[in-house]
């Protein structure tokens, strides 16, 4: 990928002449080269924001996860440190491990589907004529722009047991067992609908990004590979994919992180139910913290989530830096 580099024009080599506004040019030039206070003043609001709204809450979360912090402590504010007790409680709870396994299953199913479908749609879009291409891209953008809560509500309606169009379609196709099928009463069915919803929402980003990556692959490469006699699949595997690999990896990392955090869809649609069937880590953390008022356990669960996610984060950053040696 052609990352745009900053121009390395030696600043001191530039000619300077007195300015019209009469301020000493030397001071300003110095500010441009070695900073002075200006760059720090310019980034100060961003740094303060990150410190107060991101680093500080994160530190508080770590703190709470090592304390005995329940409703009483929330009100009185006399939390005691209990070391790793919360983590011990959490890690010895079989329910927690079921949730962790389910989180990974949810993520894996979603990400595989998103990447495969996204790549297929991107490849298809690239081969389409102008009109079809605009149609596909526009509808992708529309699906993408659908607010999460609205899309979740619509999916609830599509899968409504009595009046849902999905049950109607399945019954009409001859699957009589779907007559009034209560999707949200069965764990596996509810899980499947959530996967469908997340995939439907995420494919547009993956497809559009991969498509813009594909457009940067020079057509001559394809042509020469084809002239050499390579089939479509071979061209894809040996020419196209290696060329767009950095972007594929980026989209992959982002989708892993995003599906790991698919909280809203689940919360609005099933609250983690029926039973525990759709509870993944973020839902578990919020349930534990805000419903059972075990803020300490919830924070510990959040921290476990953060640790699990930072593996992906490290991969993502490595990818980022490989592309961007200029940093």
């Amino acid at each position: 990928m052609s990352a745009v580099r900053e121009r390395a024009v030696p600043r001191s080599a530039r000619p300077h002449r007195p300015r019209a506004d009469g301020r000493p040019p030397a001071a300003r030039r110095a500010a441009r080269e070695r900073g002075g206070p200006w760059p720090y003043l310019l980034v100060a609001p961003a740094v303060l924001g990150m410190l107060y709204l991101l680093v500080y809450p994160l530190a508080r979360a770590v703190l709470i996860s090592f304390q005995d912090f329940r409703l009483r402590q929330l009100i009185m504010g006399d939390a005691e440190f209990v070391g790793f007790a919360n983590y011990r409680t959490l890690l010895t709870d079989p329910r927690f491990w079921t949730v962790v396994r389910r989180t990974f299953l949810f993520m894996a199913v979603n990400v595989v589907l998103i990447m495969v479908i996204g790549l297929l749609v991107a490849l298809m879009t690239q081969r389409l004529g102008r009109l079809w291409r605009v149609a596909v891209l526009s509808s992708l953008v529309l699906a993408w722009a659908m607010p999460v809560v609205a899309a979740t509500t619509v999916f609830q309606w599509l899968f409504h047991s009595e009046f849902g169009v999905v049950n109607w379609a399945l019954t009409s196709l001859g699957f009589g067992s779907f007559e009034r099928y209560p999707w949200f009463a069965h764990g596996t069915a509810a899980f499947a609908i959530l996967v469908l919803l997340v995939v439907w929402q995420s494919v547009p980003f993956a497809a559009i990004t991969l498509y813009s990556a594909l457009t940067t692959v020079p057509a001559e490469l394809h042509e020469s590979a084809r002239i050499d006699g390579a089939g479509a699949f071979r061209v894809l595997r040996s020419v196209t994919l290696p060329m767009i690999r950095p972007i594929v990896m980026l989209v992959l990392c982002l989708e892993v992180i995003w599906t790991f955090k698919a909280f809203v869809q689940i919360w609005v649609m099933t609250r983690g139910g029926p039973g525990d069937a759709t509870t993944i880590l973020p839902v578990y953390a919020v349930q534990t913290a805000l419903s059972s008022q075990r803020y300490d356990l919830g924070s510990a669960a959040s921290m476990v989530t953060v640790i699990l996610m930072s593996g992906v984060l490290a991969l993502y950053l490595r990818q980022m830096f490989r592309q961007e040696d200029e940093l």
């Binding site: 961003a46 709204l53 990004t209 996610m309 980022m320 961007e324």
Partner: protein, 290 residues
């Protein structure tokens, strides 16, 4: 990279290519249908009379169109209020993050200073921040500082969620604008600020558009924080929370629910579609290339 030579396949390929158009177009049609059907179903349900909605034999086009459900949704308790709240929070967060990010992006793209690398690294990490995991501490901090139930709190949180992305994209755009342009203006007598405002700022328009769009979508959509930080003061709720509680309020009034969903989704859909081109280019230059 080198493919195995198979001479003599050219004429046959010409024929297969033509044949291949059909499944290709079928695939395109299927993609369009799958992408649009939920949106279509939401909008048409909103216009159908109740007896058509509650029928086991769905109507794909409303036989008679009705605005009744929209009336129910708009007249529902606090609709205008929640719309206003959402708009205030969204606009506040987007503006704040644009201003703060523009300054930071300028410092990163145009100036050399100690700590620059570390700052950029911090921004990249912040972009991946586990927001869902910070609800509990932010709830507690907000409670301790008397910031619960206030729209300002949401504005600040959304500002922070959109800030890293905005810095990264604006920085990406800024590095594509040659600094020589600004320097030429400075030579012609502009000061540095004027040079930036007159030369670079207009060229940044697509980047600003892409990032404000992203900020708008994020803030307009956000549910988790809006749901858990606004508790007692229900007047301060935002649209997503209102929509999610709609079914509880209206029982199984799916017509009204779909009308409310339509009204909620409409701004996002319209803006997104209008700025489609910038979305793609913004992503390409910012989120993807870094």
């Amino acid at each position: 990279m080198s493919a195995v030579g198979r001479p003599g396949a050219a004429p046959r390929r010409e024929a297969t290519r033509r044949l291949r158009r059909l499944p290709l177009h079928a695939g395109a049609a299927l993609t369009v249908a799958i992408c649009l059907f939920p949106v279509y179903w939401m909008v048409t349900t909103a216009f159908k009379p109740s007896r058509d909605i509650q029928s086991t034999d769905p109507q794909f086009l409303p036989r008679t169109w009705t605005l009744e459900h929209f009336r129910t949704a708009v007249q529902a308790d606090g609709f205008a209020q929640f719309w206003r709240n959402s708009l205030l929070v969204t606009a506040g967060a987007v503006l704040l993050s644009l201003v703060v990010a523009l300054a930071a992006a300028f410092a990163v793209a145009r100036m050399r200073w100690r700590g620059r690398r570390q700052f950029v690294l911090a921004v990249f990490i912040a972009q991946m921040a586990p927001w869902e995991s910070l609800i509990i501490p932010i709830y507690i901090i907000a409670r301790d500082t008397g910031m619960l139930d206030r729209l300002l709190t949401l504005t600040l949180v959304y500002f922070m969620i959109t800030l890293p992305f905005t810095v990264i994209v604006l920085r990406g755009f800024m590095t594509t604008i040659p600094p020589e342009l600004e320097e030429a203006a400075q030579v012609d007598g502009c000061n540095r600020f004027q040079a930036f405002r007159r030369i670079a700022f207009p060229l940044l328009a697509p980047g600003l558009m892409a990032t404000s769009l992203f900020g708008f979508i994020t803030a307009w959509n956000e549910f988790a924080y809006a749901n858990f930080l606004i508790i007692k003061n229900q007047d301060q709720r935002t649209l997503p929370v209102w929509l999610s509680s709609f079914q509880d309020t209206f029982g199984t009034d799916w017509g009204a629910t779909m009308a409310a969903s339509t009204l909620f989704a409409l701004p996002a859909l319209v803006i997104f579609l209008a700025l489609q081109r910038h979305v793609t280019s913004g992503l390409a230059s910012g989120a993807v290339k870094g």
